[in-house]
């Protein structure tokens, strides 16, 4: 009897939700009664969360405030491609005014779903927009889709590492072979490392489980390590840092959060700022000032220098005064995550 009741309840609940799903499809939205946007984020991840936070702050700066004249439908695919597709389709079918897609797979999926509609897609945290076929070779959109790239300032990073470690010869990078962002960053490092006198050693992993082994292997071969914005590697950064500290090998980061938890320094991206920049672009589109299809994809204008003096002290490295004073933020302690 109980189970029958449960079955009945479930059926009712499912029908109700489906009906609600359908109903929202007809909801009209626009300038006067507020905007509705869908945010499709690929995974739970510190940097991507920062992008989302920044995006909403960017909209707010332009007078589009969540809860007042903005309704946000936030969905997270938990790293599953099938779910990403479902999220994009559900945004399109409920007729949102704009889709904000965070990370490459979400951006591609949202663009694909919205291609035959007039719903604009604004992406962020896509490293190589051209390889992802979201822009052409000149950085102009291929359709009603634009946004910001989190392309790393690789040249600046190499220069900074050379300044801090004048004698280092080999530079190690660990990356996930499945992450297109990392692969294209590696290519750029390979092209530029020689100019700064570094010999590049890379090691590719496929899952989090490989990190510890790969770190041991890499640490035995290199004088220093730098990180990309590789999701899998960054998620396992504490493992790498612990092993590197034992062997006194400095690890450079690629963004502020990594320096906070124990990387020596980074010429990096502030994902909140990147999100804000994206949010401002989205605001222009929502207000009808510009079409997404005519807005070039943007990169963050000035990378910031972040340094952790506590880490430098532990490693016995002296960082040039001039560099320290140029830092956007200087951490004197290591924050455990």
């Amino acid at each position: 009897m109980k189970k029958k009741l449960m079955a009945g309840l479930l059926v009712t609940a499912m029908t109700a939700v489906m009906a609600a799903g359908c109903g929202s499809g007809s909801s009209e939205s626009g300038g006067e009664d507020g905007y509705t946007i869908g945010i499709s984020q690929f995974a739970e991840h510190g940097s991507l969360d920062n992008c989302r936070e920044g995006f909403l702050a960017g909209l707010e700066a332009e007078g589009i405030v969540e809860g007042e004249n903005l309704t946000v439908d936030y969905q997270n695919a938990a790293s599953d491609m099938g779910t990403t597709g479902q999220i994009s389709d559900s945004f399109v079918s409920s007729g949102v005014d704009l889709i904000c897609a965070i990370a490459t797979p979400s951006a591609q999926s949202a663009y694909n779903a919205a291609m035959d509609t007039d719903i604009p897609v604004v992406y962020t945290a896509v490293t190589d927009t051209e390889a992802a076929e979201l822009t052409d070779a000149d950085g102009m959109p291929v359709g009603n889709v634009t946004g910001t790239s989190d392309k790393l300032p690789i040249e600046e990073q190499l220069k900074m590492m050379r300044e801090i470690l004048p004698d280092a010869k080999t530079l190690g990078i660990m990356y996930t072979t499945s992450e297109a962002n990392s692969v294209s960053a590696i290519e750029e490092y390979e092209a530029l490392a020689g100019d700064y006198g570094f010999e590049l050693v890379t090691t590719g992993i496929s899952t989090t489980a490989d990190v510890a082994l790969a770190a041991d292997d890499l640490l035995s071969k290199v004088d220093c390590i730098t990180n990309l914005t590789d999701n899998t590697v960054v998620a396992s950064l504490p493992t790498i840092l612990e092993k590197a500290n034992e062997q006194k090998v400095p690890v450079f980061g690629s963004e502020i959060e990594q320096v906070k938890i124990g990387c020596l320094a980074a010429e990096g991206i502030d994902y909140i700022a990147l999100g804000e920049q994206t949010g401002k672009m989205a605001a222009q589109i929502l207000k009808g000032e510009k079409e997404a299809s005519e807005m070039a994809s943007e990169v963050i204008t000035e990378p910031g220098f972040y340094v952790n003096t506590k880490v430098a002290e532990n490693l016995g490295i002296t960082i040039p005064e001039a560099l320290i004073s140029s830092a956007v933020e200087n951490f004197d302690e290591i924050t455990a995550e």
């Binding site: 499809g25 997270n76 491609m81 591609q108 999926s109 694909n112 072979t177 297109a180």
Partner: protein, 293 residues
């Protein structure tokens, strides 16, 4: 309406995968983890061929064959190499990760500017204007039904009977003077062919090959098979293959509902709770069957 269309599209694509998992898991009683590799294998082959200008429709049989090869490898490792079933699947799944990267060239290949089976001039001429928003669904539906019918017909042939016998009663196969090892390899080949075909269709529907698209594919397949077969256990008119397809659609419906109605963090939890409830309901059916008898 669109809400249901999405569920049907996704559910039917993964339904082809579920048909493959049905063969290994239900018929052969073989927990085949190759699926996590053969699904993106189909997608990788498709992306590699389409970007080189191949007719998108030709990628369907080629992706199927690529999956067949993967299945044969798993079968050979298990039967000839005498490696345990679970482990043979794991070995192939692991190897396929790199093979897929080699085939596709990189971990993410967009197909936005390419023709796909869903988007090209021929299909636009073929489908009446009124039905054009449903092109994708119609094609997926037809493809899935063709797969299901062929599989049903095959299972009725002599070879199909042998396949079913290997899982149920291996001794019978041996007593018929047939090598049950070869039958297993054949089953794995067909199963992974179907899974790879699902990957091919998925890549063209999503218009992108992504290496991580196979992660967890086996879980989706198994859940679909178990939901389908246990929900419709009592409905004798419905073939198991149809039940599996419906199971896959139900799986995607559960995910869609979980996505729609709750906090993003709770998505997987809600999906899990929905499964559990569905399985508990079908358990009650089983008991009732016993009581009636």
């Amino acid at each position: 309406m669109n809400f249901f269309i999405t569920i049907l599209e996704q559910g039917l694509i993964y339904g082809i995968l579920a048909l493959g998992v049905y063969i290994t898991y239900k018929i052969l009683d073989f927990p085949d983890l190759t699926v996590d590799g053969s699904f993106p294998l189909g997608a990788a082959v498709t992306a590699a061929l389409i970007t080189r200008g191949m007719d998108p429709y030709l990628t369907l049989p080629i992706a199927f064959l690529a999956g067949v090869l993967a299945g044969i490898c798993t079968g050979l490792i298990h039967v000839k190499g005498k490696v345990r079933d679970l482990l043979s699947g794991i070995i192939m799944m692991t190897a396929l990760w790199s093979i897929n990267l080699y085939i596709a060239g990189t971990s993410n290949v967009p197909l936005f500017s390419q023709e796909t089976i869903f988007k090209n001039d021929r299909i636009e001429g073929l489908i009446p204007k009124a039905l054009s928003p449903y092109t994708t669904l119609i094609l997926i539906f037809l493809l899935t039904i063709v797969c299901k019918v062929i599989l049903d017909l095959y299972l009725k042939t002599k070879s199909g009977f042998l396949l079913r016998a290997v899982g149920d009663n291996a001794v019978l196969v041996t007593s018929l003077a047939k090598d049950q090892g070869n039958v297993k390899i054949l089953g794995l080949a067909i199963a992974n062919g179907l899974v790879s075909l699902a990957g091919c269709v998925f890549a063209q529907e999503e218009r992108v090959f992504e290496i991580s698209s196979g992660t967890g594919a086996i879980v989706i397949g198994l859940a679909s098979v178990i939901i389908g077969t246990s929900l419709f256990r009592k409905v004798t008119l419905l073939k198991a293959t149809s039940a599996v397809l419906i199971g896959s659609v139900i799986y995607k419906a559960c995910v869609a509902i979980a996505l729609r109605s709750f906090e993003p963090q709770a998505m997987k939890l809600i999906t899990a709770v929905l499964f559990l409830i569905i399985l508990l309901i079908s358990m009650e059916r089983k008991k009732k069957v016993k009581a009636d008898a």
